[in-house]
Amino acid sequence: MAETVVQPSRSRDLDKLLLRPGNIIGNNFDPGQELRDDLAEYVKVLVVGAGGLGCELLKDLALSGFKKLEVIDMDTIEVTNLNRQFLFRFEDVGKPKAEVAAKRVMERISGVNIKPHYCRIEEKDIDFYSDFSIIVLGLDSIEARSYINAVACSFLEYDSDDKPRDETMKPLVDGGTEGFKGHARVIMPGVTPCFECTIWLFPPQVKFPLCTLAETPRTAAHCIEYAHLIKWDEVHSGKTFDPDDPEHMKWIYNEAVKRAELFGIPGVTYSLTQGVVKNIIPAIASTNAIVSAACALEALKITTGCSKTLSNYLTYNGAEGLHTKVTEFVRDKDCLVCGPGVLIELETSVTLQKFIDLLEKHPDLLLSKASVTHQGSSLYMQAPPVLEEMTRSNLNLPLFDLMGKTSRGTIHVTGTTSKNDTKTSVLRKLRVFFKGVDGVTDMDMAGGA
């Protein structure tokens, strides 16, 4: 049988999916070499987190045809990462995760470029995030997910019928694991629910009441939290507890043991002490591999259309048998984050300073220390000091003027808000309307366009 001579190719397997026409496919699937080459050349992917999921994601994406990757993570490598974060070795302990992960993947897969960012996600301005075709999240914190979700949703624009504009949609793929369980989800802002629409999926952690710790301890965890939350402050006035300092942890453990003995409570161990104090979530390689692979596959399908996509939430549970389930959650129509934005009506005379004060009192926002951006340029920045100084003079100018004297516009603000007694960084999209200037400016805009 005569076979067509096939040129040996690195993408031998992937080509079958990207070069051949298919029957069960996504929108805009246009198979061919051009699709494969465009994927490599033009599609930029950001991986948020270079931990258990992040390491897997970088490998999976790099072997799924993506060649332009960036990764952001503020952490350094610890010994306890080595049972699953396969890009790290013992001698890497202490080095930044993003940098080592990027280097290892590039060493093994030629033609792949991975740019590491060793910093907090809030340190990057919004423009940084707008540069990517798709953002893939491998995080273990609700706050960080919530922040990136808000960033991605902030790019979304709505047309005059309040329909989301496709070209402003920044897809997110999010994964998470705990022990033998995990989830992968696809967020198409404006179409499928965003992280905030279904925030109830992540209920806040229940804390022990302080009176239980102080008066009626019953479990080992109560004794540990007593030492951690009450006794530490009593003894070390002013010195903050550092969970990463082994001496501090040892002290907590010893105090917990004393208390447990006093009350006849069994079960305080050093390992449990660490677990309770640091709120350690058990993690293994296999679950991370499963969830990351599902996320990478979705990223490939979303960007190329080579198959249908997950709609929109996959859960995996491998503890008792094997259960995978797809749930199609629906958007919260009134979501502050992925909706058209909080509507704020202002007089044209309102200064930027007054506007910032107003955000602090706005019942839907309660946003303090706001930095304000309009169409990519900073109107006021709280930090760093250099930028604060540069933008300070804007505070006394009317916002109307700063926004180019148009009757309406979208403003992005970042700042902090208090939720459950803890301060979190938030980003919000606001739709600002100015009273009494409608019509005139619309005409101006039409003329200027």
Binding site: M1, E3, V6, S9, R10, S11, R12, D13, K16, L17, R20, N23, I24, K59, D60, L63, S64, V79, T80, L82, N83, R84, F86, F90, R108, I109, S110, G179, F180, A184, T216, R218, T219, F263, G264, I265, S271, Q274, I281, A283, I284, A285, S286, T287, A289, I290, A294, A296, L297, S307, K308, L310, L314, G318, A319, E320, G321, L322, T324, V326
Partner: protein, 524 residues
Amino acid sequence: MAEPKTKYDRQLRIWGDQGQAALEKASICLLNCGPTGSETLKNLVLGGVGSITVIDGSKVELGDLGNNFMVDESCVGQSKAKCVCAFLQELNDAVKAKFIEEYPVTLIETNPSFFSQFTLVVATQLMEDSMVKLDRICREANVILIFARSYGLTGLVRISLKEHTVVESKPDHFLDDLRLNNPWPELKSFAESIDLDAQDPVALRHTPYVVLLIKMAEQWVKSHGGSLPSTREEKKEFKELLKARMVALDGDNYKEAIEASFKVFAPRGISSDLQQILNDSCAEVDSNSSDFWVMVAALKEFISNEGGGEAPLEGSIPDMTSSTELYVNLQNIYQAKAEADFLVIEQRVRNILKKIGKDPLSISKTTIKSFCRNARKLKVCRYRSIENEINSPILPELQKYLTDEDYSSTAVGFYILLRAVDRFAANYNSFPGQFDGGMDEDISRLKTTAVGLLSDLGCNGSTLTEDLINEICRFGASELHAVSAFIGGIASQEVIKLITRQFVPMPGTFIFNGIDHKSQILSL
């Protein structure tokens, strides 16, 4: 602090020192080290299995660099098994890693006794006839076998062994063993020793809900001719009685009692799952019986004698609003009963061992204790042989899946087609769509093959969609990295459960649906 223990901290919190020790004793054999096999092993090497043996006869080609992280440019032309093994060794030097440059099919045909040295064999990317042969070999040698295969956007994972018994099944949600409606004398008298009416409000608010419910249940039984609340009305009334007191007292303990009142309504005695295990013919033990079944036999005797219809007490209680003193006392009462139950079972285990001609001390105290603590959660998993599944799948099940239009139709379609492509390959020496060109011919040939297969299985009249047949031909036996990582992840997860003997391995055949992730386990 020793380095290995710290390194494994996050997983020790899941399967403990015992699970880790089992992993470190295990020797794993991998057949074929493409991405599916390599990724499976990667997860196991990171977790610290004892040893791995990588078996693959092929050389690394350029195309392998596009889907397998374990090989790089410098590997092209070299033994794939050697290169993959070298990378895996880099991940964890505590693991003994070796390779054999040999085609698995050759080993299966010529050296079946080779496999008996391993704890577990991970067989990837094997075709049906090799699967059947290997399955026979491993069953004979009591080696655990797990198949994994990636094929385009689909794939499968299948465990095969005669029997897997689990003591520490660690279910997520399981009813506490509190005996609220069936307290033993010590617990009953402890509850009686607390006079709720004589307590001041502070003490009353710190009386554990266990005591409140035991008292309430007893009162109820007395005034209802010996029976517990059973109808919805009665259960509601029971809760209302608690609610009235809660409001009067404003106590968290009464709130907890209301929330936990379903524990009073739960039936006494053992579950039907456990009954099924007791009824199993293996519970009639002889000298060939495993420790697990010997302990089941002892459990069976216990339940119908000392246990009075109940399994041995688990001995732990959940946290609840209480004074420290009452809570600790209560905990001691539960622990004492659990210890007493354990001693009875231990004696029965020793007697049975003696009776069947084994060393009465051959099962350790720790093992029996763990068995008692988990007696209500025992699991027995059995797997049909591959040969049986292939030649005589459970037809009603198969037909059910085939006609289920909603969820599983794609998955079962993939199942049939994954078998059809092997038949296709046996007839035409390549997989459908494996090479470019001749796609239309492959599609029609695959269709004919699939129809023939369905008819051989006795599913005449069932059809697969054109779309799915087309897709399988488009996949052309490709091993996509992301799919392989998913399948490999699932396979390694199951390996861990099988080796640690903790948690419950999956039943049946897992069919991955990479189109919309509506994957399915088929029990055929």
